[in-house]
Structure formats: structure tokens, C-alpha cells
Amino acid sequence: MSAVAERQGTEQQGTEKQAAERRRRRLPGVGTVVVTTVLLALSVLFLYPFVWLVSASFKPRGEVFDNRLIPRTPTFENYINVWQEAPMLLWLGNTVLVTVLAAVAVTISSSMVAWGFAYYRFPGRNALFALVLGSMMLPGAVTMIPVFLIWNSLGQVDTLTPLWAGNLFGSAFYIFLLRQFFLGLPRELFDAAKVDGAGHWTMFTRIALPLCKPALIVTLLFEFQATWTDLMRPLIYLRDSANFTVPRGLKALLDRYGFGGEWHWEIIVTASVITTLPMIILFFVGQRHFVEGIATTGSKG
């Protein structure tokens, strides 16, 4: 057999193999079908509670527990009732204010500190950074009482300040996260900027920050979620219901329309939906960033 023929033979074999590969890719294997089915079943399990919750918020009082997905007599009354029973709009406003301030404050301060640790090589850097990492290990319960006493002595109890102002000083977790991103930037970039006469602050705000936008978005989203969903600090600091955040308000409603007397599940259910909905919207807005951020968090180190 001539060399040409041989080559043609192998070429043909190659295309046959490719065709088989393509066919295999088009038809999902048995394994994939099984995996997808199992995942679909589990998805129902994971999503059903929320679908159920939203559906229950449209049911009249007596039907909350009837486990129908589509209410027998759908009503919008619960939402009107909640609005009348509780200053929901005020609570939502408080929560938005606190979460925005908390997220912006922690992003600005943490990125500054992270940059300080990432770019500069000063004596004592490693020891200080070890302190940052170490402070992540400290349980919140240890500092909770003295921090309360600080805000108390500043007359800030029963205001929204303690819920966000601490974020002006950075947070260990985000410092760690952002530092990782800053370390990934090439040093030559900053050397070049320095040659062009850029100062320390310009390098940080004009070069480092814009290049780390994804990490900054992750920080904003994470802190927004953490502050929005927090219950413990609002329980500690807020007294007057006019200052409540939505989760604190939901807890108050549960106490009033649940444990405290006659159960009004429809009110509690509806308030739960109102508490959760903004988080669901936030997730769909920042989905990609959430996933990337979490994946980065768990990587080794």
C-alpha cells in the first residue's frame, strides 16, 4: 500500500471517530438522563417551600395550611393588611438605608486596607495580616457586649448607626478576598504609573480599583445580603418599632400575631415574602458575581 493510501485510510478512520463522537454528544447517555432526573426532583424539593410560601400569602386566613399551590380563593388582602398592621414601608426604607450604607462603607474601607496589604512591602506586614486572618476566627459573641457598650456610651442605641458604621473600618473577610484580587494585578502596571508621576492614591483609585471591579461587586453584594438578613444586631440595638429593619419587624410580627396571642399566619407568611423578595431579586441581578465570589472564597488558602 502506498503512503498516500495509508494516509487516506487514517484520515477516514479519523472522520469516522469524529462522527461517532459527535453522535455521542448529541444523544445524552443513560447516566446523564438519570442525573438530570434526580436533579430535577431535588430542585422541586428545594424550590417548593418558597413557591408554597408565596402561594400562601395570597390565601385567606383559614386556607393558609391547605397546601394547595393555587389558592382556592386568591386574595390580595393580606398584603393590604400587613401594610396597615405594620409600618412596612418605613421598615423597608430603614433596611435599604442601612444595607446600602453598610455595603458601600465596607467596600471602600476594605478595598483600601486590602490594597495596603497587597501592594506595599513594609516591615511588620505579615504579622499584621496574620492578625486580620486571626480576627476572622473570633466568635461574634466575644465582642458583642463591649461593642454594644461602645454604641451605648455614644448614645447610638435605638438608632440605625450601629448596624452599619462599624463597616467604615473594613472587615477581615473582605480584606482577605480583595487582597487576593489585588495580588493578581501585574506590578509593572503600577511601576509604569509611578514613572508617569502617579501618586499612591491615584494608583489605587485610577488603576487598582477599576481593574478589581468584579471583586468589588462581590463585596457589595455579599455585605448587602448579610446586612439585609441580619436579625441579631437589630434585636440588640433597635427598640422603637419605627427604627426596625424588615427582619426585625418580621420577628415582632411573629411575636404579636403568633406567640403573643391568636395566630394570624396569613400576616406572618405575607411579611416573610416581603422580607425575602428583595433578596431573590438581588440574587438574579448579581447571580454570576455571587457564584464567582463563593467559588473564590472556598479555594484553598
Partner: protein, 328 residues
């Protein structure tokens, strides 16, 4: 991504077994620049102030408070170790510690196993994995207060959804929210709804397992299960350990879901002793009974317990956790 941006200092922090030779240390020290100290301190200043005011001082002050009797309204009275002695005899402390340990021992393995199972499934789902990742992460966004409310509704003994479903297959469900034996299992199951974050972490680790290892194992005749157990799981043991340790620390500090569902103003109908977690007891001592000194002592005991458990986990993990970097 993070492994590329990792700097040597951090690797050494995370893993003390990496040799820190004298020469590399000297080189690093030569690299230090005094003239960079000033601008660096300017950037670090928010944290330096914050750490001093909101971490270092509170830690010291909390240590001092734990040796006093303090109710905010009157001055702190020095009582030495009395608070710690009182803890030994406080039945509620013993109960809450027991509840917390039992919950942690059930919750953490269940949580890690479910996360791993879902991550393995998602890793095989190919094209649809993005969609499923979204679905499993979504419940993670639920505020814990709402999770507490959902617990009361779904696990309601009379007409909750869980018991209704159990009824279809002829099982009479327990009174999840009132029977002390079933409160913790209910809380554990509710917590499983939020495995999404861990699933994403494990999935990211799974994506980094080199395909060649699988192919090699396949050539050696290893089936799907054996490949999973002897190749995949050891390769992601670092991420698995991370999820395990973070969850243990979180479980030991459980508060919001249980507090929402079982404690609050006017709650007299529930026998909530089974849900009295350590941090709940601490919180109530501090902010409902204003026993700030006693609560501070409780906080310190929690701190020590967490440190000891974490240290044990790290020591034990040395034998099981495999880091790629160790080889180099």
C-alpha cells in the same frame, strides 16, 4: 484563580508545613522597604482604628467583664472567677451546651454529605448545571428569620406540609415543633435548604480535578464509584475540609432560625428547651436579663470550645487532606 494569585506568605500561613528556609526569609526581609511604611499605614488606617476599637479593646474588655457582675445600669463589681463557677452549676448552660453539641454533630455531617452529593451530581449534569446551580443556591438567599417562619409552617405537627406528605405514604409525622425529641431534626432539615453556598465551593473544586487522573484510573479498571471515592474525593479534600470546618464553627454559633421559631415575646406554648442553643442562652443573659458579666464569661467559654474543636479538626485533617501544593 486564587491559587495563582496566592503569595508565599499566605501559603505559609495556611500551611505551616511548607518549609520556610532561612534564605527565603532573608530575601523577603531585604524586600521590606521602610519608605513604603508611611503610605501603607495610610491605606491600613481604617482597619488599624477599627481593629483597635472594635476587636482588640472589646476582646480585652470582655475578658475583664467576665470577671465582674455588670448590668449596664450600675458599675461593674469585681467577682473574680464566680461567673465561671456559676456556669458549672447552671443547668441552662449545661442544657444549651448539650443542645448545641447534639445539633452540630447531626447537622455538620448531614450538611457536608448533602453538599458533596449535590456537587457530584451537578458536576455530571454538563449543560444544565448552570440552571441547577441557580436553583440550589436560591434558598441560600432567604433571610434566616424567614427560614425560622418556614420551619414553623412546614414542620407544623397538625397540618404542616411535611407531615401531609408523610401521611401520603402512611407515616404519621411527629410534632416537629413541639416535641423536644424532634425539634433538632427539624432544624437540621431546615438548614439543609441552604447548602447552595457549599455546593458551589465543592463544584469549583471538582472542576479543577484533572481529567487525566480519571482517565488513568479508568485504564486501571476502576468503575465510576471507585473513581469517585479514590480519585475525586481525595482531590477535593481541601475544599471539603474547608466546608466542614466553616460549618462546624457556624453550627456551634447557631442562633437566628431557632431563636425566631422558638423564642420571643409571649412564647409560652412551646417547650423550647430543646432549641435552647448556647448563643441563644448567652444572648438572653446579656440583653434580656442584662447579666453582661455572666454572658461575657459564657462568650469566652464558647471561644475556647471553638478553638479546641478547630484545632482538633486541623490536626486530624492532616492525615486526610491532600493539597496539590504540598508536592512541589
Amino acid at each position: 484563580m486564587a491559587s495563582q494569585t496566592q503569595d508565599p506568605a499566605l501559603t505559609r500561613l495556611a500551611d505551616p508545613t511548607v518549609a520556610d528556609t532561612d534564605r527565603s526569609r532573608r530575601r523577603r526581609q531585604q524586600h521590606y522597604r521602610w519608605r513604603e511604611l508611611r503610605p501603607a499605614l495610610l491605606f491600613l488606617s481604617p482597619w488599624l482604628v477599627g481593629f483597635t476599637v472594635f476587636t482588640a479593646w472589646p476582646v480585652l474588655y470582655s475578658g475583664y467583664l467576665s470577671l465582674t457582675d455588670y448590668d449596664v445600669l450600675t458599675d461593674a463589681q469585681w467577682i473574680g472567677l464566680d461567673n465561671y463557677e456559676r456556669m458549672l452549676e447552671d443547668p441552662k448552660v449545661r442544657l444549651s451546651l448539650w443542645n448545641t453539641v447534639v445539633y452540630t454533630v447531626i447537622q455538620v455531617p448531614a450538611y457536608v454529605a448533602v453538599s458533596l452529593g449535590l456537587a457530584l451530581l451537578l458536576n455530571r449534569a454538563k449543560r444544565a448545571s448552570g440552571f441547577f446551580r441557580t436553583v440550589f443556591f436560591l434558598p441560600n438567599m432567604t433571610p434566616p428569620v424567614a427560614t425560622g417562619v418556614l420551619l414553623l409552617l412546614l414542620f407544623n405537627g397538625q397540618n404542616g406540609l411535611v407531615n401531609t406528605v408523610l401521611g401520603w405514604v402512611g407515616i404519621e409525622g411527629p410534632n416537629w415543633t413541639t416535641d423536644p425529641d424532634w425539634i433538632k431534626p427539624g432544624l437540621v432539615m431546615m438548614s439543609l435548604l441552604s447548602v447552595g453556598g457549599s455546593v458551589i465551593i465543592l463544584l469549583a473544586a471538582l472542576r479543577n480535578v484533572p481529567q487525566e487522573l480519571h482517565d488513568a484510573a479508568r485504564v486501571d479498571g476502576a468503575g465510576s464509584w471507585r473513581r469517585t471515592w479514590h480519585v475525586t474525593v481525595p482531590m477535593i479534600s481541601g475544599a471539603l475540609f474547608f466546608v466542614f470546618i466553616v460549618n462546624t464553627i457556624a453550627a456551634l454559633q447557631s442562633f437566628t432560625e431557632a431563636y425566631t421559631a422558638f423564642f420571643g415575646v409571649g412564647n409560652t406554648t412551646y417547650s423550647n428547651d430543646a432549641a435552647l442553643f448556647y448563643v441563644i442562652h448567652l444572648f438572653r443573659q446579656a440583653f434580656e436579663s442584662l447579666n453582661m458579666g455572666y454572658a461575657s464569661a459564657m462568650a469566652w467559654v464558647l471561644f475556647v470550645v471553638i478553638m479546641v474543636i478547630t484545632a482538633i479538626q486541623v490536626t486530624v485533617s492532616r492525615r486526610f487532606v491532600f493539597y496539590e501544593g504540598d508536592q512541589r
